[in-house]
């Protein structure tokens, strides 16, 4: 099953280069993403056989990230069918700079999407640190052409920054991997397999200073890819310039993959009794990310950049959850799932707004509820969800993390957390309310019907966030507990 999860998108990616008809390629994309989602869901009912020991094996955390990744990819594929219909290769005019540009070939775009899926799946189904690194590095390489789909100067600038900053970050993570291996090597045996099982087994005998150095490199390295401040500088550029469905995948799936890298590293630190050291670092980077996001979100005019900075905030929340303890970690797992669903839904809706209004400025978008009668209300619901308001599940997860901080006796941190959440809530909701209300700009005719392909994926994703906020199925709750327990050893 695990081999199939990897092989299907890989083979489809190569096939898509040779398929001449766009329509067939889009059907292939849909079929592959559907098959991957079914396989990911099957992993909840049937324990998939591991391959090569821990090389390919699924645990509670991996299964959670795998399912979210496949669900988002399916939603994005449905959206892509509608989106790509309107994106031909002809000469186009950039609405921001007025320059002419063309799009990348659709075959390349589809192939890179499928390769992205394969590499993200690899990250989730491996428990080998080397392969995890390979998977994360591959996501960088194959997502760069996706960001550069609209071949204009801004997307190229964003692509270069993304490639360079993330490659350097990932290189530092590789160094962290090597240092971790060194720290675990027992006397007289220089060969420790880089599987999670072997590392956890040998962790209690690890050299503490080398392991601390390894964790710092891993946190900075994977943190760069995750968009953690102050290494986040690529994220707002890449998310705002990429096509919206790519932004949805970057924010919802890619950031989780990098988080998984930090999660695995933290697991080893906890097993080596260095949990306190790692936890302090996680909290420091987490709060810094929230602070940076709060500072930039207030007064930001570009609604796609606003969503990007919101991702920086939520990545900070995930690090805080991980570093706070079992209860918060459980909230963190729930937060990871719901942030991905809500943020991907919002980015897809942002794409609809951008297409209709031809602007990214939240000041120039007015009367959204009238111009786009489905997108408008969903956009507002999504913003309410992502800012952690009830009844959406992000409220529960953010509240659990707050409780975790209070139980740990860190009242000041809890207060800072609440304050930053409050600032971001106001900073995001104010421009979005302005966007939804008021009259439509002159010359913009309200659309009576919107394409279901462009609205249904976001609606389903946001509905899931709402349902998880109202009803928590037992099996899902159990999965969250198991994932959180992996980093909360006594």
């Amino acid at each position: 099953m695990l081999i199939a999860l990897l092989a299907i998108p890989l083979l489809a990616a190569f096939a898509s280069w040779f398929i001449p008809a766009d329509a067939i390629r889009r059907i292939l994309l849909l079929l592959v993403s559907g098959a991957e989602l079914i396989l990911a869901l099957a992993c909840w009912f049937v324990e998939p056989a591991s391959f090569g020991g821990d090389l390919l094996a699924v645990d509670a955390m991996g299964r959670l990230v795998l399912t979210v990744t496949c669900a988002l990819f399916f939603a994005s594929s449905v959206y892509a069918v509608g989106y790509l219909r309107g994106e031909d290769r002809g000469d186009r005019k950039d609405f921001q700079q007025g320059l002419h540009f063309s799009n990348a070939p659709e075959a390349t775009f589809t192939a890179c999407l499928l390769l992205f899926l394969a590499s993200a799946v690899l990250v989730t189904i491996t428990r080998h640190f080397g392969l995890l690194w390979v998977g994360i590095e591959t996501t960088t390489i194959v997502s760069a052409p996706l960001i550069y789909f609209h071949r204009h100067q801004r997307s190229l600038e964003a692509t270069w920054k993304y490639l360079l900053i993330c490659s350097v970050g990932i290189a530092l993570a590789l160094m962290g991997n090597l240092l971790m291996d060194v720290s675990i090597q027992p006397e007289g045996h220089f060969a420790v397999p880089m599987t999670l099982e072997a590392l956890l087994e040998n962790a209690p005998r690890a050299h503490p200073i080398w392991l601390k150095a390894a964790f710092v490199f891993l946190l900075i390295g994977y943190g760069t890819k995750m968009g953690v401040a102050p290494m986040h500088t690529w994220l707002p550029d890449a998310h705002s310039e990429a096509p919206s469905l790519v932004s949805a995948l970057l924010s919802g799936a890619l950031l989780n993959c990098a988080f998984l890298g930090i999660f695995r590293s933290y697991e080893v630190c906890v097993a080596a009794n260095l949990g306190a050291f790692a936890s302090d670092l996680l909290l420091a980077f987490g709060f810094l990310s929230m602070l940076v996001a709060a500072l930039f979100i207030v007064g930001i005019g570009d609604f796609k950049r606003m969503l990007a900075y919101s991702s920086v905030e939520h990545m900070g929340i995930l690090l805080i959850a991980l570093g706070t303890g079992l209860e918060a970690a459980r909230g963190g797992m729930l937060h990871m799932v719901n942030h991905s669903l809500a943020k991907a839904g919002l980015f897809l809706l942002a794409g609809n707004i951008l297409t209709r209004y031809s602007t990214k400025s939240s000041h120039d978008v007015t009367g959204l509820n009238r111009v786009l009668p489905l997108t408008g209300p969903l956009w507002l619901a999504g913003i309410i969800a992502i800012t952690g308001s009830p009844p959406f599940a992000l409220f529960i997860s953010e509240f659990s993390i707050l409780k975790g901080l209070l139980h740990r006796g860190q009242q000041w941190l809890a207060l800072a957390y609440l304050l930053l959440l409050g600032i971001i809530f106001v900073g995001m909701l104010t421009p979005c309310l302005r966007m939804c209300r008021g009259k439509a700009p002159p010359g913009l005719v309200p659309q009576k019907r919107e394409s279901l392909l462009l609205v249904a994926p976001s609606a389903c994703l946001l509905l899931l966030v709402l349902v998880l906020g109202l009803i928590m199925p037992d099996f899902f709750s159990e999965a969250l507990n198991r994932a959180a327990a992996m980093v909360s050893r006594p």
């Binding site: 390489i141 760069a144 160094m175």
Partner: protein, 253 residues
Amino acid sequence: MDAVFSFLHHCAAAALPAPAAPVAGQQAGWAFASLSSLPSLDWLQTALGLVIITNLCLLAAERRRLSIRLIALQGVILGLLPLLAHTGEVDAHLICMTLIFLGIKGVVLPLLLRRTYKKLPPQLPSNPYMGNTACVLAGMGGLVFSLWFASNLGMTANPLFLLMFSPAITTVLAGILLIVTRKKALSQMFGYLVMENGIYLLGVPMIQEDAMWVELTILLDILVAAFVMGIAIRHINKAFESTDVDRFASLRD
């Protein structure tokens, strides 16, 4: 150069434990118990010294053609390291892997850089954000820092790792310096590859037969990353009529 060698040797000697008797069964293959069992220790130290010197030359180099040659030289030295760091019998597998590493690091990557360079129109070297003399001084500062860092981290089970650690960190820092001080996108790519060379250096002591495929996959990933960067640079030149990253000014908050 001699000073660098003796400095490295001194550091390795100061940081390493007294040679221990090899553990039975460990002598063969890639593992060994102490540096004294290395038949080519002098060669290894010479190679590490050369890596440090190429770093400093890269930091001083203004012309990109010269930088590509220096990266090729560094790649050849690094490609030979698995052979120099080996203690057991030299078998076909080792030679084969050394040739692959040598081929990618010393031939394919420099050729890729040369191809990208050739496809760009001739451009005058632009002033870096930091002067070349200051860059070299900062590189030497990086060497001192890495030696201090290594001496503070304590012993490792594999003594070769400690020997490699300082040159590796120096190379990584030189790569980062190149990235942050250069204005041309191609020069930033040089920095990325130099940084990766440093990390490869750190990985040499851990190259084992059963984990060789992981090393190879990592190397291939870096090769593809360099390839994608090369394409991006050509697009940058086409869109901005220059590869100067100074022109990137449209994405600001």
